[in-house]
């Protein structure tokens, strides 16, 4: 997990899993690369076609509320987003992000504007906003989640360790 760099795409509060991966595209759930072309379409229709690999999704509060569909963080990752930043996350979405190897970072996203150039260092727990020349810090994950993220997700983690290792 090296430092990541890219542009900020801003979203509001309460971005639901229906904004990210809507039910009307339910039939694409077993075709994730195709579903990823529609990622976040119902929040910002231009996002999927305009973002560049490495960019960041930057939400407000309660990002990812709603359904347990892991397809939501999965297609954000497939689209090439390096991390999701928000003031707070819905519980299942947050856990799913880590499980699919997509960093989910809790920080004060009011200090980030659309298009800001960001750099994230997961190990140091820092977001550097190069446009505004400020640094934001974020709390470390519980050790079990850090390990899962380091392995690139829960499936890889279980494949490697065969079980949950809390210590």
């Amino acid at each position: 997990m090296t430092a990541m760099r890219g542009k900020a795409w801003k979203f509001g509060d309460n971005i639901s899993t229906d904004h990210i991966a809507p039910g009307r595209l339910f039939h694409l759930r077993s075709n994730l690369p195709e579903l990823a072309k529609h990622v976040l379409e119902d929040a910002r229709s231009e996002f999927a076609s305009s973002m560049a690999p490495g960019d960041f999704v930057v939400g407000g509060g309660n990002f990812g509320l709603g359904s347990s569909r892991e397809h939501a963080p999965t297609i954000i990752k497939i689209a090439g987003v390096s991390a999701v930043l928000a003031k707070s996350f819905a519980r299942i979405f947050f856990r799913n992000c880590i499980n699919v190897g997509l960093p989910a970072i809790i920080c004060d996203t009011d200090k980030i504007d659309e298009g800001d150039e960001l750099e994230v260092d997961l190990l140091k727990g820092k977001v550097i906003n190069h446009t505004k020349n400020i640094e934001l810090s974020f709390p470390p994950l519980p050790p079990v989640m850090t390990k899962i993220l380091q392995e690139g997700g829960l499936a890889n983690y279980i494949h490697k360790y065969g079980d949950f290792k809390l210590k």
Binding site: L65, R91, F164
Partner: protein
Amino acid sequence: MGKTLAEKIISEHVGREVVAGEIVVTPVDVCLVQDGTGPLAINQLRKINLEKAANPQQTVLFIDHASPSPRKELANDHITLRQFARKTGCYVSEVGDGVCHQVINESFVRPGDIVIGADSHTCTAGALGALGTGMGSTDVAIGIALGKTWLRVPESYRFVVHGRFQPGVYAKDLILHIIGMIGADGATYKSMEFGGETIENMEMSERLTMSNMAVEAGAKCGIIFSDEKTREFLLKHGRGKSYRELWADEDATYERSFEIDASKILPTISFPHTVDNTRTIEHKDCQDVKIDQVVIGTCTNGRLEDLRIAAQILEGKKKHPDTRLIVVPASRKVYQEALEEGTLSILNQAGASIQSPGCGPCVGIHQGVLGDGEACLSTQNRNFKGRMGNPNGFIYLASPATAAAAALEGKIADPREVIG
């Protein structure tokens, strides 16, 4: 030290005393996936060569979201589920059997169980005194294969409800009121624990509605004690032996406590596009809101008692000519009972389209997708933009009584004025 229901259930599973905030690895009793999340779960297990089930008799794969299948891609997903079940010995709950959260509680969940499901409304199991929680496909896949998961023991919020509802007011109004009060992230990561005489007097049908919507306040679970009502429910479904009584300790520690007077709750409606955007029926915003479609059903309010409430209001009457009425019984058992006692006949004669048990139009796949600019009033649990298949639709959430009143009037209407 006294324990909350969540602490008590997790402590029993891990074999030592746990307190809120700890992270534990715990055995799980029941696992479920559905046709929207199961294929991904199975693919994950295939990828790491772990296609097995630790407890196949307690693992259920539900075909309920796109059921019967409206598209070939989804029919193929159903095949994936059936193949996995054949290989591992898990159950498949088939087309027409019903919504996962209804069937799992009718037939599998016991008080004190830990239930994980790749569906956010797995918290419904809390109504039976179980800790049910929604997770993603990979988490549940690993739970199925290894028979365990990791959890953070949640802090608990206690909701004590006293008094009696006015006629025309139900558990749905209470839970919408609570979510409106604390917000869509008001209980994120927490266990909501419901108690007090109002909850004690509730039938299981209403308790299931309460627990079902805990996730709409962000909660990990929504747990209710188990008592004589729970025992009767289990007996009715041929599982009397699964009963055990379970209460939180008197001296349990709660992070927050709320007292609610049920007699002051009014019929409550969530306005588009968030569940916490609530209004009481007396609010001016409820005047002249035209409704194009009414849905009565889902894991929130598709039980026999819900259909009866609607039938009582609609008996001998016709729905409004400009409003479609869709009724979806939550399970085959509900469908059968409603059929035999004549409830479905009343709804059919009132002009309802009665559909196969399952999730119906709630997930936006089929059976009632909204047109541009259309408004739907539904008894379901979510009204997010795009939820019913069209981001240009508007979804209002309410009780079956309010839904039936809207079907009659063609607009949002006060159920207290039409209730028999």
